[in-house]
Amino acid sequence: MLKYILKRVLYMVLTLWIVITITFFLIHAIPGNPLASLARNLPPQVRANYYAKYGLDKSVPQQYVMFLKNLFHGDLGESLKFPGRSVTDIISEHAPISARLGIQAILIGVIVGIVLGIIAGFKRNRWPDHLVMFVAILGVCLPSFVLAALLQYILSVKIELFPTAGWGTGKYTVLPTIALCFGSIATYARYMRSSVLDVINQDYILTAKAKGISNFSLIWKHVIRNAIIPAITILPPQIAGIFGGSFVIESIFAIPGLGSNLVDAVNNRDYTVIMGLTIFYCALYIISLLVVDILYGVVDPRVRVSEDTTE
């Protein structure tokens, strides 16, 4: 297992490097100059110094080598748009906020989705099933930003239950979390439902029933455990979706998360911030893939063994 994880980590680093390289050359290929508006009014000499300070006077390959060198020392550089703010500062200040929101949304999305899916699966074609499926269809059709605007208007403007926007106590996280996790709930509910239906019709469920075990054991150990396994595989795209959704949601709820920083950075061609955040997001995603894989192995013994034998 250790060898396996080591190998995976190596692959992760490789993937990360490829992503870094592609992103680096891509953003430098986009027309537009990060310092254009800042350095606009400056005399030529000062402007030249300014460009030199950030290495922007060098060729792109030279900048790339410089960037990798600094990265190797853990230095992600300084924002071009907001001098004095290092990328690490930005990440350490804003990432925890996005993380809190993201983790809440993933947890609630997955757990509620799974529970609803299980209920729908067991109550197939009865009203709980119809209700859950209705919610699921709504959740799939309704874009998160529409839901966000709706929630904000109803639960904050009309009924003053939650703050409209901003960041502070837990109360501030309620609406954005709902807006963010609704899609996951919907996806998971549908996925779990069909998974449960599939498992219920398996022969081993009949075997379990023939043993005369309690309903609880039957549902928990035999149905849910097996039904959850395929659901784990759709976790990474859900995580990616929540990353993506958070950009919009953070803007609507004025949440000082990483997403709005990335959007701004792209608009401003703030190269260092774009690079830093891309690396961060990418690393996060790759790590989550690894975690999901390990999780999959923990839950599904078949996967565990085949890994051991190939290593």
């Binding site: 986009i30 027309p31 537009g32 100059n33 990060p34 254009a36 508006s37 606009r40 009014n41 300084e78 907001f82 001098p83 004095g84 703010r85 930005i90 200040e93 804003h94 605007a149 904000q152 208007y153 904050s156 403007v157 003053e160 703050p163 409209t164 926007a165 901003g166 960041w167 803007s251 609507i252 709820f253 004025a254 949440i255 000082p256 998360g257 709005s260 920083n261 608009n267 401003n268 061609r269």
Partner: protein, 385 residues
Amino acid sequence: MEITLEGPCAYFEKLLAFKTMYPQRKDLVEEWGDKAGSEAEYTISCGPFKLEKWTHKSELVLVKNENYWDADKVKLDKVTYKIVEDPNTASNMLSNGQLDICAVSKPEWLEKFKQRDDMTYVSEFEPSVAYQFFNQEVELFSNANIRKAFALAVDKEELVDVLYYGIGEPAYGWIPPVMKVGDKTYRDVVEEPLKKLQEENPDPKELLIKGLEELGMDPDPSKITINMLEGGTDPETRRFAEYYQQAYETALGVNIKAEYVDWPVFLDRVQNMDYELAGMGWMGDYDDPMTFMDMWMTGSEMSNTGWSNKEYDELIKKAQESLDEEERLECFKRAEEILLYEDAVIAPVIYRKSSRFQYNYVKDTMKPLFGSGIEFKYAYTQDRK
């Protein structure tokens, strides 16, 4: 502190309001380096309030500055600025009282808030003009009559209503109505040059055809396609661009192709004269027409039209050095005439206004022309629910 000037400068005192003239603490700036001004702890203030907390992308908290020279007059203990990007969210926050003051520009919200009697609508001139400009290195725009045609093609009254929801005034001059020369309001004494141009040329299309003939080009406007560069890719930019496109096409019979690029690209392209027709805004830095006029002098970093006029340069130079406000005013007047009436270097469109709603319990806020937003020195709240 002592400042030594290289030469006479009639508007020096006004220049002091310019951001670059704000005082700094040398020792701290040196100590902090690039960090200066990047966080609340690297900020120092000498005004009525000081920055206590700055949560990036979220809020700024100002508290009363006890060391302020006029601290006795400051009534508020705390002012919080919320950073909200989404205009709908901001409007929501205003409407349920989470904000006391908020700039509102969306038409549907404007209507809604104007009906509330617990709020006041405040709209004030800003030292700012939106304008269209032409690349004179492009053959078509090397001709003054053609530029004039474009300058007259847009119905500014309608534009203010449609594009700006009535927030602003149609601009027929380059110096906005709030600017002063000495104590005199410039626009009070100087007629807007484009008004005259418009009276003399009721049909801009004729000007265009005349210009085309002068250039020896095909006088059929429908054979002309002009690329209009836009500094943005968002729906709002598109709305603006489509309006201009349609206005030019109807008035002049030319074809306009809009090209949308991100703002940094736009600036780059304009700087490198890689455009034909474009538009942007200019915000004055201090209360003298100079802040609008010196940018069009030959060699100025800000001028990217390829235009150069000796007389204009000399006039501005004279206005820079003269201490006689009357003489300066005359210089500006003549220079503006050259800029807009004779050469039509640029085409001003609208004098921009700020617009905000505030609850009636907010009293005595001020919006200085050259400051950063609303001034709370004397502000207080009364009978707040």
